[in-house]
Symmetry: C2
Subunit: 449 residues, 2 copies
């Protein structure tokens, strides 16, 4: 099937469901693999998604359910019958279960947890005990370990016993008698070693993450170092779970979506766009928009102060959008760069002076370039003094905007606010008001009004 055909098929499927033609929908499902079914469901309304989901055979349904976004899983839970849900819920890995629980109302979550077999309930409860953003909440508490004094043959026997159940058998934490992590060993290393070799001889230095530490940072470590599994430990370095690379990729995907949303001044949806109800889209944006609009009344106030100047020389008003736009752009550029660097752990709040120095220089150079250009153009079209005002304002605004835009994300992180929230939208508003003040002060000085 080409991608074109596949896309057509998924569109047809949605159409059949919408029209209530379940026979045709069943036909269209043949040949689609779980990934395609996930795509289809995530493009539908929750109700249609549930109808489609009911058409799936049982084992296929589980594979699809596992791969759905947690918010869409939660939609399904609301639509399906209790017994259907209970079976699938028990089949999920403990970490996947917690993603879903986070999306459900407390009463539903409690009922589902009570329906679990004892061991699964305990494992899930362990994970649920960690704070929202901690890696402990995203780890899998079900793992195979080995011991430094065991032989390769003994370890392989442990692996064979766990093949059907463990999340991964390709990387094993090595723990001593106190459950402390002392190394990791890969299945590959085990297979390369003689049967009677001790694990101690072939294990390597472990990377680990503390269960209460930030989930994104642990996931980044896992991905950056290409670790198939990262042992998660408590404050005494005792093993409590593992983070697998695929779960790390999932955490990073979600974090990145959240960062992108906040940088654009939107609350993260946490669910696919087309399956999100309009009211929820509105809710994800309206608060931010109001906050920013209220912030922007600052610009009205600044302009009021200079209303007399403005009345004297209306030409000054012509350049207001251009000047504050350029300031906003410069600030956003700096904020975007530094926010991303923070997310990737390339800079930290303590680097604030280095960042300040860099952005000051960058902003000044940008201001010089734009200022000269503005001076020449505005000077040529209007008059020399106007050109001078525009040029000087551009130079000053760029310098200020880049500096503020660059350090704002670091300040946000230092006071434990998401830098992505605090940066772009706020910077624009702040820079707008500052830029106007600079503009009119320069205009008054140069034009003598």
């Amino acid at each position: 099937m080409t991608i074109q055909e596949l896309t057509d098929r998924i569109d047809d499927l949605a159409l059949h469901i919408e029209q209530g033609d379940l026979v045709a929908a069943s036909d269209a499902l043949t040949g689609l693999d779980p990934h395609d079914v996930v795509t289809a469901i995530e493009r539908m309304s929750p109700r249609d998604g549930a109808v489609l989901f009911r058409l799936l055979a049982k084992d296929r349904a589980l594979a699809v359910f596992e791969a759905l976004a947690p918010a869409v899983q939660a939609d399904l839970v609301r639509q399906l019958r209790e017994v259907e849900v209970a079976a699938m819920f028990a089949d999920l890995d403990p970490d996947d279960r917690v993603w879903l629980l986070d999306e459900l109302p407390a009463a539903v979550a409690r009922a589902l947890l009570l329906g679990l077999p004892e061991r699964e309930r305990q494992l899930t409860a362990d994970v649920l005990g960690y704070p929202q953003n901690a890696i402990g909440r995203r780890m899998n508490p079900d793992y195979v370990t080995t011991h430094p004094d065991l032989t390769v043959a003994q370890t392989m026997a442990r692996i064979r016993a766990a093949l059907g159940t463990a999340e991964t058998v390709y990387t094993l934490p090595v723990t001593d008698h106190g459950r402390e992590v002392v190394g990791v060993v890969s299945l590959r290393d085990l297979m390369s070693a003689p049967d009677d070799a001790r694990v101690r001889e072939i294990m390597s230095e472990p990377h680990t993450a503390t269960a209460t530490s930030d989930a994104e940072q642990a996931a980044r470590l896992c991905a950056d170092m290409s670790l198939l599994a990262l042992p998660v430990v408590d404050s005494e370095r005792r093993l409590v779970g593992i983070l697998t690379l695929d779960d790390a990729a999932r955490i990073l995907k979600r974090e990145e979506s959240e960062d992108a949303a906040r940088q654009g001044g939107v609350e993260p949806l946490g669910r696919p766009y087309l399956s999100t109800p309009i009211t929820r889209l509105v809710r994800s944006r309206v608060v931010w928009l109001l906050v920013l609009a209220v912030g922007a009344t600052l610009t009205v106030q600044v302009l009021e102060i200079f209303e007399a100047t403005l009345a004297q020389l209306t030409a000054l008003a012509l350049f207001v959008p251009l000047l504050i736009g350029t300031g906003g752009n410069t600030g956003n550029q700096a904020a975007t760069t530094v926010t991303r660097a923070l997310a990737l752990d390339e800079v930290r709040p303590r680097d604030i002076l280095r960042v300040l120095g860099r952005e000051l220089r960058v902003g000044f150079l940008l201001g010089l370039a734009l200022g000269c250009l503005g001076f020449v153009i505005a000077g040529a079209i209007y008059a020399f003094p106007i050109g001078l005002v525009i040029g000087l304002t551009l130079a000053a605004v760029c310098t200020v905007a880049a500096t503020i835009g660059g350090i704002m994300p670091l300040v946000a992180r230092a006071i434990h606010v998401d830098p992505a929230v605090f940066s772009n939208p706020f910077i624009t508003t702040f820079v707008d008001a500052t830029g106007l003040v600079i503009y009119f002060l320069i205009a008054k000085a140069v034009l003598g009004i």
Copy 2:
């Protein structure tokens, strides 16, 4: 070592290098693992990074080199001696080699390629033959396969033989005599099966990606489906390489950094912030800033048209930044949401009418909320007619901005431009000018001037 101590250590290291105290730097290196050394190098100037790199023992140096960002690797290549570089270059996987080659001047790249052993050169050349954004260029052409008629024992023997060299042995593509991919089998499945079982009986349906298809999409498939390895095939479904999950995560990380940069109106740096020279930071921003500033002269022209109106009622100028700011914010919100949905393949260009319908409704509802608020506030503080103008303008601008912001990324994708480039900065400029026209038309109609 706590994170605090580690951070201090890395800062000390940088200080020692800067002061030329190599003995102290060597001491500070003890106990740091490759990941920490990478962090240290990526926070330094290229010259200091090379000094630090030279202090590393040979095997450690390779691990560090592999984990560095390709642009930083390229810096090192320029600073180190040819023999040092040649040895490390030969040790890289073919796909990692191509990342680095893409960052090097053609002459240096050619010299390095010529220095490779014959087989490695051939593998690298295969990968280099694919276009820049294709998954073929990011795959590893070095893999282990099995055949549907082979037994589990025979396959395990193949795996054992490849343990030292293959990128992964945990997921094997199953190919028939024509090298066509007919399935995949995991080491786990192999270990669970009896020795004399045929691969045919235990293999599962393969996900595959065509070598010329988009790298990001293939990487997303790999990550979404938690595939440890995704077979990459040519147009006849013959195996040409594999994409491993860690490489997929790396591709996604880079793509996401690029998207974030472009959404903020910055050319992607492709390298860590602190190790980027100031001039390069300026270059990554100045062109965009100039383009946007030139675009913003449109607002000057629009305001000129309405200069007479403005002179008549200076109060109108007070609200210009607020109104265009709100329009820009609304447009950015829509663009951010849709751009992200596009990147995640949740919407496609053919969904343009659905997106249009949704954003029109979202924009109208947002406009209604903000318009009412604006009407009440501006009406109370200034005068009823002014309130009416502001309220109506906000309602109209929000509707238009959300609609344009929502469909612009889809239009960009349809004409094969990066949606992230085309959306936010352009939208702001476009919405600014449109918003001004709407504002003055409404003002003229309501105020009768």
